[in-house]
Amino acid sequence: METLGYLMDGFGVALQPHNLMFALLGAFLGTLIGALPGLGPANGVAILIPLAFSLGLAPETALIMLTSVYAGAMYGGRISSILLNIPGDEPAMMTCLDGYPMAQKGKASEALAISAVASFIGSLIATIGLILLAPLLANFALTFGPAEYFALFLLAFATLGGITGKNPIKTVVAACIGLMIATVGIDNTGVQRYTFGVLELFEGVDFIIAIVGLFAISELLFFIEERAGGGKEKMKVNKLSLSWKDIRDILPTSFRGGVLGFVAGVLPGAGASLGSFISYTLEKRVLGKKGYFGQGDPRGVAAPEAGNNGASSGALVPMLTLGVPGSGTTAVLLALLISLNITPGPLMFTQNADIVWGVIAALLIGNFLLLILNIPLVGIFVKLLSVPPMYLLPIVTMIAFVGIYSISNTIFDLYFMVAFGVGGYVLRKLEIPLVPVILGLLLGPEMEKNLRHAMDISDGDWMILWDSGLAIGLWVFAGLGLILPYIVGPLLRRGMKGKTPSSGSPESD
């Protein structure tokens, strides 16, 4: 019941007019960003982080806005899947399978509405799961010492993109690049590494600068290269005619999808793509011949949408309680928390209770806002999708530059951001995923620190690393996470490839 009290306080925070306003703004911008092909939730949050800084928002307001962006992007991803057969982000890939056929049958509006309802249900289930699970896990987090944390970080790296990643070797390369960048700065013992006497490098590379550079600036370069100038083809949407029966039909599917998605999201590294994939596959199994999947079955739209939205809330659980992100977007959110001087973990649930519960309450409210936004206003999003990038891009660039400059007021950071942007462009050209780079950068120093601490505590005895049941369990999971993708991955990918068009998205979540 304590939880309920905290949640009520959280609503008190989230319902303050300015917080509500920024939640609405975030939900709107998130949906838009999610809908634009290529701009996934990780990019969306990364692009808007500078906005939070340049507006000088309070920590809880900044977080509320950006979690709304996150939730909105997960909603938005489906719009272009259904209308254009191009997923807005990778998790929305499965939505193409039945969404586009529905649209071809002249039922685009229905597909959009059904997917919005399913997204809502999936998200709602997962948020309730988050409310129940997070405080428990937060208390449990006290049992995590340096050895357990080290094993947990290892687990995060082991499962990293393994299942959805296209090329495991490239994932490893990306993670190593991140780890290498992470070594820059004064280390734990006061020794300078790769700082070359440059004061700005003493504290290492700022995550936010790296993230905005890698995602936003490289996105800009890509747009310039591929799509400069003209707009996209016009999309037409029919008039909505949806009965209660249609919604009732997808309810069981959405519930199952939401629960499965949540579980997939909680596992570090697995993320939303897995959530939508297993929800779809399971639903197909469950319904068997009763369904007509692949030919525009509404349940085929509902399942993956409930799944990926469930997973996106689920991924917040390990991020908030243990400080280990479950997906690329939560990694970006973690970077934001760190730069706001908030340490995720058990302490945050007591010391920053207003922030944590404010954000959780905002997720609940955001879901309702998104449902309201997405059913009647879908026409507006469709129109905005046709805005030529020549108008959109300068705005994104301006936000990135102003925002980064306002964090620390040094030109150095801007050069750095551009350098990261060019680096990100090159990596993407080489099809090296960016999310593992960020995870390496973010988790590398923590992993190193915990290893050093474990050694300090044991006076140099390596046995401490597998000295507790919890640590051993984590090692086993990490081992499984490393091996399983080689067995299950090819099977899954074969399944996915057979059914989906190639994704326009460079990023997985």
């Binding site: 340096p146 003493f202 706001l340 620390s408 601490h453």
Partner: protein
């Protein structure tokens, strides 16, 4: 062995007599006043700038508002370098500082920069150091802890929020040195990102003892999870905190204040310096500031101008000496 002299410095009269207040200052700030917080938003320096800025506005010490500028990097080094090289003579600029600043200056972590390249204006309060253990720890008081360190310097491991060699680490060493523990460099100090993280590890039973500031520990003290063995202040702290014994009353003469204050660029006119020194006194005495201090757990600690400058230079010398003694720097 060189005794650490912070203690003697602190016994100087804290309620400083202000020598500048009588001179009618010709300087009045016009337009925008800037306060550089050498960290990202949310940290201690950021708090110093924003809260002092608000009080200055309320007291009409500034014509308009005080703009806080965050300039993170090198633990304050980027802002220090910026102030020295680009802002000399700017009499509308204050920069937030604390013991972390003097520690880094003392250990040469701002390469090529020294304390006399800026004007030290004043301090407006302090956060005192503590040494604490988890409530279920076998260690009952500071002497017991020091005795086991004397037997084996690695028998008790400390967790704190500053880097190795940083202020939280130094506090342990100051206390251990005062208790005649030998082989100080062998004492294990585990550095975390902030006090909160370090506390979680101590409460969780993974690390033996916590070193940090009193404000960091209050949450876990109230919940009963943490037992504070000693506070490194001259006298017991006011209010609810009066239950905590000082190190001094346990026979270990160690003081560790983390002061919060400001410096200004070099080459600022005497009138401007006098104005800002006066302003520090006015702020410190105001009800507005006193209530900010109470709300945020800041303890009485006030010095301005000449006295403050002397304190800073002495603190730097002391920390340098200590760091050399324990082999942190050559």
């Amino acid at each position: 062995m060189t005794r650490f002299k912070l203690l003697t410095l602190l016994s100087l009269p804290l309620a400083a007599v202000t020598t500048f207040s009588s001179t009618a200052s010709a300087f009045e700030p016009e337009g925008k006043v800037e306060c550089i917080a050498p960290s990202d938003p949310g940290g201690g320096w950021d708090f110093t700038c924003r809260s002092v800025g608000n009080v200055m506005q309320e007291l009409d010490l500034v014509p308009a508002n005080v703009q806080t500028i965050n300039m993170a990097g090198a633990g304050g080094g980027v802002a220090f370098a910026h102030t020295v090289s680009k802002r000399a003579g700017d009499d509308h600029l204050l920069v937030a500082a604390s013991t972390a600043t003097t520690t880094r200056l003392a250990q040469g972590q701002f390469p090529g920069l020294t304390a006399d390249q800026v004007n030290w204006i004043g301090a407006l309060g302090a956060d005192y150091g503590i040494i604490a253990v988890a409530a279920d720890s076998e260690i009952d008081d500071l002497n017991e802890l020091m005795d086991s360190l004397k037997e084996d310097p690695r028998s008790v491991k400390f967790a704190g929020g500053s880097a190795k060699g940083g202020w939280d680490h130094l506090k342990v060493l100051i206390a251990a040195q005062a208790a005649d523990v030998e082989n100080l460099p062998r004492i294990a100090y585990l550095s975390y990102n902030n006090g909160g993280e370090a506390l979680t590890q101590v409460i969780g039973g993974h690390v033996d003892a916590f070193t940090g500031d009193i404000t960091e520990a209050q949450g876990f003290m109230e919940s009963g999870d943490l037992r504070v063995l000693a506070v490194l202040s001259e006298e017991r702290l006011p209010g609810d905190l009066a239950d905590i014994p000082t190190a001094r009353e346990q026979g270990i003469d160690a003081i560790g204040p983390n002061w919060r204050g400001f410096y200004m660029p070099a080459d600022v006119s005497e009138e401007a310096q006098a104005y800002w020194t006066d302003a520090m006194d006015t702020i410190y005495e105001s009800e507005e500031w006193q209530s900010v201090m109470t709300q945020n757990g800041l303890m009485p600690f006030h010095m301005t101008a000449g006295e403050f400058e002397e304190f800073v230079l002495n603190q730097i010398n002391d920390i340098e000496q200590l760091s050399k003694d324990i082999g942190l720097i050559q």
